[in-house]
């Protein structure tokens, strides 16, 4: 029995193992989600800073980010809202030059006046905006209460952020009050 790790037999075995590993990994990840790019935009552009990872938004200290789960906006309307922001609210515009070189809601900066929405910290290209709209449509709009699977899909499993969604897991505030 050769102790040489470079033996052809070992090499073939190793290759087989790698091949199986790759196939397994591919299988467990299922087919790639076409809206993963949009999810990345949702994170990078800090959509979840106000709308939260689950999209429900909510009141609190920073005014009221609308619920993307309960939204009735169409793809086109989501694209416009992200591009131009929502005048008179804290929803920022994400298109470079909005209200200047690019008209928004048929307004320029002057027309918008004190209704001018804030400028986002990150500008997004048209393709990014469409991707994030597709992500919202596929994973958030129309969904019910957020659950553990959705949470893990968003954060991965390196954080304890999703623990409260585990079935029969941690006490909720409501449970605490019983």
């Amino acid at each position: 029995m050769s102790r040489n790790s470079k033996s052809p037999r070992r090499a073939i075995l190793a290759l087989a193992v790698i091949a199986i590993a790759v196939m397994t990994a591919g299988a467990s990840a299922q087919s790639p989600d076409p809206t993963d790019a949009g999810k990345a935009v949702f994170k990078r552009a800090n959509c979840f800073g106000c709308h939260k990872w689950h999209g429900n938004g909510g009141g609190g200290y920073g005014g009221d980010a609308l619920s993307l789960r309960k939204t009735e906006l169409t793809r086109e309307q989501i694209v416009e809202t992200v591009s131009c922001g929502r005048p008179g609210t804290g929803m920022p515009f994400f298109t470079r030059g909005a209200y200047d070189t690019v008209k928004c809601h048929d307004m320029n900066r002057q027309d918008a006046g004190n209704q001018m929405p804030p400028e986002a910290n990150t500008f997004l290209r048209q393709a990014d905006i469409e991707a994030v709209a597709d992500y919202v449509l596929a994973h958030i709009k129309g969904k019910g209460e957020p659950n553990h699977t959705e949470c893990i899909d968003f954060f991965g499993n390196k954080s304890r952020v999703c623990d409260i969604y585990k079935a029969g897991g941690e006490a909720t505030n409501a449970g605490q009050s019983k």
Binding site: N46, F48, G49, C50, K52, W53, N56, G58, G59, G60, Y61, G62, G63, D64, N121, F155, S159, R160, V161, D163, I164, E170, A171, T172, N173, A174, Q176, S177
Partner: protein, 593 residues
């Protein structure tokens, strides 16, 4: 276990011995540097050190060091600086900030960044040398998603040979002072319930006292004591009484509102050794703005609480804003001072500058009101305090839901309304300072109004890790600031140094100077009596932390952390549009003559 490991000679230790010879010389004095309860009691006998978060158990933040004084402060210059980390975001936050007070012991400085990394810096020789960094690997998403008001950590405490600190994700961590290795840690708060920790621990005897944040997320607040020898909890006192306990009758609803009633404790308190009493501020009730959800006075929210340090048993309370509909929490530090009273007596006071815009002096032996006055320029929610009780004049103990000045008070009937001070308060967490020689108390002031929009709270809206506020603020009004001095012998305003921006950092007092910083970047020194500005240096960042002073090698220094973060940056920035220019940062500045 750890002691055993220390005694056991190991091969590794032997191999390292010669190489570590130089290090051992540096480390050797650390045995003499054991921080004993006696040293913590007598912190004032070590004028060059800053051993407690608030400098001393009385929380005066007054240093007797006077080599830097009003005659020469104009010559103050940067001695050294150090870039820190922790600026990254997490949860709902795009970046961290710095709100900590450095601790200095025998020339060694200990600071934290917003995510709770601890840095030990050797400040000898006119320079700063980073000796170690302990990164607690805080769970950013878990904690950052339920931190209402920023990625913050206000600093460490020292005990024995340990550096004791908190993390946003709810841990108490004991780190070996010499090596920077974590000795042990325990989970004290639970982010799954919306609990996080931002405050520095207070060490009393052999206990670390921990406060909690989360009143915007439906927590039921507490103060907890951990035995640093056994690493176990000694007591935990909830700031909202359980069913049947005294005070539970002040929650008159039928929805079990007290179970998610808030009352957080996220600012480090003070301690009176003479009576073995902790005095700790308690935060707002939840939901913040819908007080009809929780009829009754809602004890012990918006109160100063006195507790027996050994048992956590409540000795007395003083509530400032019963059935609060404004988010006027009373989480601020109580400053313990003794001043001459009538007929040759000594008045033993606890001073608190409340979010509601009034400064209070309470008899800290009995918990009775002594005096109170507005320290902000504009108060609209009440006409003033009752001279006997200190309660707002409009307070009616027979009413389950208080309306105070009903025309401005947020309620289900008055859903959009402007209040002064705004909900960030006349003073927030940034600490006051008290000069015992001048008997002047300096308050870092937010001269503010803001707009509250009420949203009726219903039990189905109460969800773990989600906001539980019953509405929210917006900022249609420009907000400025001041440092306001109060003469504690008279209970009157003695002076006001106005500033273009709110004071978000806090105060340091020395015999003839007052140091502070501006969120626009300036660190300033003002004359303790005239309140005139004598010196300033623009750090180029945003000051969101209090200055402190220490001496090493016989030389006095002023230190301050610079890095705008916290609540202002996200929630209140529209009230100070110029501050939108300030970039996130994470830096330590140290000044000397």
């Amino acid at each position: 276990m750890r002691k055993h490991a220390k005694r056991r000679p190991s091969l590794q230790a032997a191999m390292l011995a010669s190489a570590a010879a130089v290090a051992l010389i540096v480390a050797a004095p650390s045995r003499a540097d054991e921080v004993t309860p006696e040293r913590l009691l007598n912190a004032e006998k070590e004028p060059g050190n800053w051993l407690h978060h608030h400098k001393n158990f009385s929380a005066t933040r007054f240093s007797t060091l006077s080599d830097i004084n009003k005659g020469n402060v104009k010559n103050l210059k940067v001695a050294w600086t150090m870039h820190l980390g922790g600026v990254e975001g997490g949860g709902i936050w795009t970046h961290g900030g710095l709100e900590g007070t450095p601790i200095v012991e025998n020339g060694m400085m200990y600071v934290t960044d917003g995510w709770g990394s601890v840095y030990k810096i050797d400040a000898h020789g006119g320079k700063g040398v980073l000796l170690w960094k302990m990164d607690p690997k805080t769970d950013h998403d878990w904690a950052g998603a339920v931190a209402c008001c920023g990625v913050d950590n206000r600093g460490v405490a020292l005990w024995g040979n340990l550096v004791v600190s908190h993390t946003l994700d709810g841990r108490l961590i004991a780190t070996n002072k010499d090596t920077g290795q974590v000795a042990w840690q325990r989970q004290v708060a639970d982010p799954n319930k919306g609990e996080v920790i931002t405050g520095a621990p207070l060490i009393v005897k052999d206990m670390a006292i921990t406060g909690v944040a989360g009143a915007e997320y439906g927590i039921r607040g507490w103060i907890a004591a951990t035995d640093l020898k056994t690493e176990k909890e000694v007591w935990r006192t909830h700031t909202i009484p359980g069913k049947g306990e005294p005070g539970s009758e002040t929650w008159k609803d039928d929805k079990n509102a007290s179970a998610s009633g808030g009352g957080s404790t996220w600012v480090t308190g003070s301690y009176d050794p003479a009576t073995n009493t902790l005095i700790w501020g308690v935060g707002n009730p939840g939901p913040d703005w819908d007080n009809e959800y929780r009829p009754g006075d809602n004890l012990y929210t918006d109160s100063s609480l006195a507790l027996d340090a050994d048992t956590g048993k409540i000795k007395w309370h003083y509530q400032h804003t019963p059935n609060d509909p404004y988010d006027y929490d009373s989480v601020a530090e109580n400053v313990l001072v003794d001043v001459p009273g009538p007929n040759g007596t000594t008045a033993k006071l606890a001073l608190e500058a409340d979010r509601n815009g009034f400064a209070y002096a309470i008899d800290r032996t009995t918990g009775k009101f002594v005096w109170g006055l507005p320290f902000v320029k504009k108060v609209t929610w009440t006409k003033g305090l009752d001279a006997e009780t200190g309660k707002p004049i409009e307070y009616d103990s027979n009413k389950p839901v208080q309306v105070y000045n009903a025309s401005v008070t947020p309620s289900r009937q008055n859903k959009v309304t402007d209040i002064c001070p705004g909900n960030m308060g006349g003073k927030n967490w940034p600490p006051t300072a008290y000069n015992p020689q001048l008997k002047l108390w300096y308050i870092p002031v937010i001269e503010s109004c803001n707009r509250i929009t009420v949203e009726e709270a219903t039990p189905d809206k109460l969800k773990a890790r989600e906001f539980w506020t019953g509405g929210g603020p917006s900022q249609p009004v420009k907000i400025t600031g001041s440092i306001t001095a109060i003469d504690v012998t008279t209970g009157k305003v003695a002076g006001k140094h106005e500033t273009p921006f709110p004071n978000l950092g806090g105060i340091l007092a020395t015999p003839d100077l007052v140091f502070s910083g501006e969120p626009s970047g300036e660190v300033t020194a003002i004359d303790a009596k005239s309140m005139e500005k004598l010196w300033e240096f623009n750090t180029g960042g945003g000051v969101n932390a209090p200055p402190m002073t220490f001496s090493v090698d016989g030389k006095q220094y002023i230190a301050i952390l610079v890095g705008l973060g916290g609540a202002w940056d996200k929630w209140f920035i529209d009230a100070t549009p110029e501050l939108k220019r300030i970039q996130p940062g994470s830096m330590l500045y140290v000044f000397a003559l």
